[in-house]
Point group: C2
Chain length 363, copies 2
């Protein structure tokens, strides 16, 4: 946060700290939005969301993954953030441990703590591509919350890997939450949803990344049938419903031709950034999804928070220090986002190259 | 909920259960919305909300109440529901007691429980106009959460009453949350905000009632200065930010001439409903605000949930049974909303008149 607010005051700063796409959503999003405005859709919706959108999402699972899901199992939420709160509240009670991979999205642990649960970090190793091995799943957790692609590493779990994690969770009686918000932004690997292997997991996804609708604050969750009614009650109480216009706008989000172009744009940017820095910075695992690179900066500075401040001040490039993503190795890393135009990325690469080639690591 | 879903299946049902205005927001809301769409405002906003809206709200406090508030103390939230979560999380820790008036809005207790706090109901008496007396504030609560006007009773606290509650809370070291969501819908009485008497209370308000923007899911909270940064962190983690288009739309909400017409409409409806039923139903306290009547049905049936089902089935009028609003006397009451057109209200009155004149209370 410190770095973010400082970065705002630097006029020609290159922003590699931002986890928000700069691209526009499919044009049909705005067409649907305009129609909803004309129809004066200003009231609350049912807590689980409008029927049309739940049906569209079910259809998406069939078209995208070949998986059949009943719309009845889908709840629309105010962003994936809202879905995390609902999922934790559904599955855990006070003091329960929620297993998180280390590193992972900082809001997981923060929301867990706010709700009275205890996050338990499971370190994912460099040699395993920053991915959790099924045998590393501890026994003493109530819930395991994973994501693929992973923010901040860009790691993507393979089908077999997801399948084994689902199985081990079932064997151990651990609830599994699979955050799939970066699905669509996977660049080479075949991939699938955890729902392909079980109906007894909670899958969370939303419109903020691949669909480029962050400010609309809309996500969804797919629940085991027996949890739907409980989820409805939590949503009703905590949120009433998800913003109405956002729900109608999202009906236009599933334009696959357009979405493919979004994927291609991010893939090109990833290649530019990765190829541009890999000779002078340490990227231990090739990033396969999302829009982040996880860069090991230990050989320059043991504390990447301090290093990030130096990078901002001297190179005028804003990066995210790793510390907030976990508690094991994260101080040795920074995260770079490729959510800006190619020219900006190229300028950022040059600034980083110059900064690091002159960097005195002995200090 | 049961009644709500049954009511939907009755074709010519008169809806007196709905807590959502049927009127349109000021036209400038849609003008601002269209401008924001043209400007492609699709990204996240700062967690506390856009500066322009925080300034507008500060201005509103000056124009509406003559109270000066720094925009820096204002946080925009996803509805008042979002604000309750933030406020409870800010002020209480696990197991703390949150004092609520009985009756009060059911989501208070539900959100408190979801977050791990213990709601403590303080019964407000008929002879006190269903209002909390300062001397009734218990010592063993961490937070007192009041609202004025009160949902479901329509009771409105006077200036002196609010002032004394603020003072007693300060004396006892209890945090005060004042939910002012129905402000603007007070029909005769002079009124004020709790902020007129102290900077050390949390005031919650929003755009869903008086401003007629429920589906936009946008509210605000005014915080003591030293809590703003903590609130920002909670909002950042739990919500990221409030829907962007809703924030821009809300810039157009402060059209006082239009809003006066909204107030007049609801006042007229209140008079029609109140005068229409007061001869055959028991309304113990004249409702001064919001859009609800709190009707004591004890002499007809000791359990208003069962009575409500009978009313729905026989009179085809949907009403809200009192039970969910508290735990002391609420089974003796039903809540009627006047959120529908005058003709509908009149038809509802006739149906209720017929139902109750034939009602066999001895059964």
């Amino acid at each position: 946060m410190d770095i973010l607010s400082k970065a705002k005051n630097i006029k020609d700063c290159i922003h590699m700290e931002i986890g928000e796409p700069d691209l526009e959503p499919p044009p049909s999003v705005y067409e649907n939005l305009e129609r909803a405005i004309k129809e004066k859709r200003q009231g609350y919706t049912p807590s689980l969301g409008i029927k049309e959108l739940r049906e569209k999402i079910a259809e998406h699972y069939y078209r995208f993954y070949g998986v059949e899901i009943s719309p009845e199992r889908i709840a629309i939420t105010p962003g994936t953030s809202g879905a995390f709160t609902v999922a934790y509240t559904l599955l855990a009670t006070d003091g329960d441990k929620i297993g998180l991979t280390d590193p992972s999205y900082p809001c997981y642990k923060n929301i867990a703590r706010i709700l009275g649960f205890e996050p338990l970090f499971i370190n994912t190793k460099e040699e395993n591509g920053y991915k959790l091995k099924p045998e590393e799943i501890p026994d003493n957790i109530k819930v395991l919350h994973i994501s693929s692609p992973v923010n901040p590493t860009g790691a993507v779990y393979g089908k077999e890997e997801i399948k084994r994690i689902v199985e081990v969770c079932h064997e151990k009686g651990i609830y599994l939450i699979s955050d799939e918000i970066y699905h669509g932004l996977i660049y080479e690997k075949p991939y699938t949803t955890a729902l392909a292997f079980s109906d007894y997991v909670i899958v969370i996804n939303g419109f903020s990344k691949f669909f480029c609708m962050p400010g609309f604050r809309i996500g969804w969750m797919i629940l085991p049938e027996r949890l739907v009614r409980k989820a409805e009650i939590i949503i009703q109480n905590m949120f009433i419903s998800t913003p109405t216009l956002s729900q109608y706008a999202a009906l236009g989000a599933f334009d696959y031709e357009y979405l493919n172009k979004i994927r291609e744009t991010f893939k090109r940017r990833r290649d530019i950034l990765y190829n541009g820095i890999k000779d002078f910075l340490d990227i231990k695992v090739h990033p396969e999804g999302a829009f982040y690179l996880w860069v090991k900066t230990e050989r320059f500075h043991k504390d990447s928070l301090k290093l990030s401040k130096e990078i901002l001040e001297k190179a005028r490039v804003a990066v995210t220090p790793g510390v907030d993503f976990g508690e094991n190795e994260t101080k040795k890393y920074i995260r770079l986002s490729y959510t800006r135009r190619e020219e900006e990325l190229k300028e950022g690469i040059e600034r980083l190259r110059e900064f690091f080639s002159n960097y005195d690591s002995r200090k």
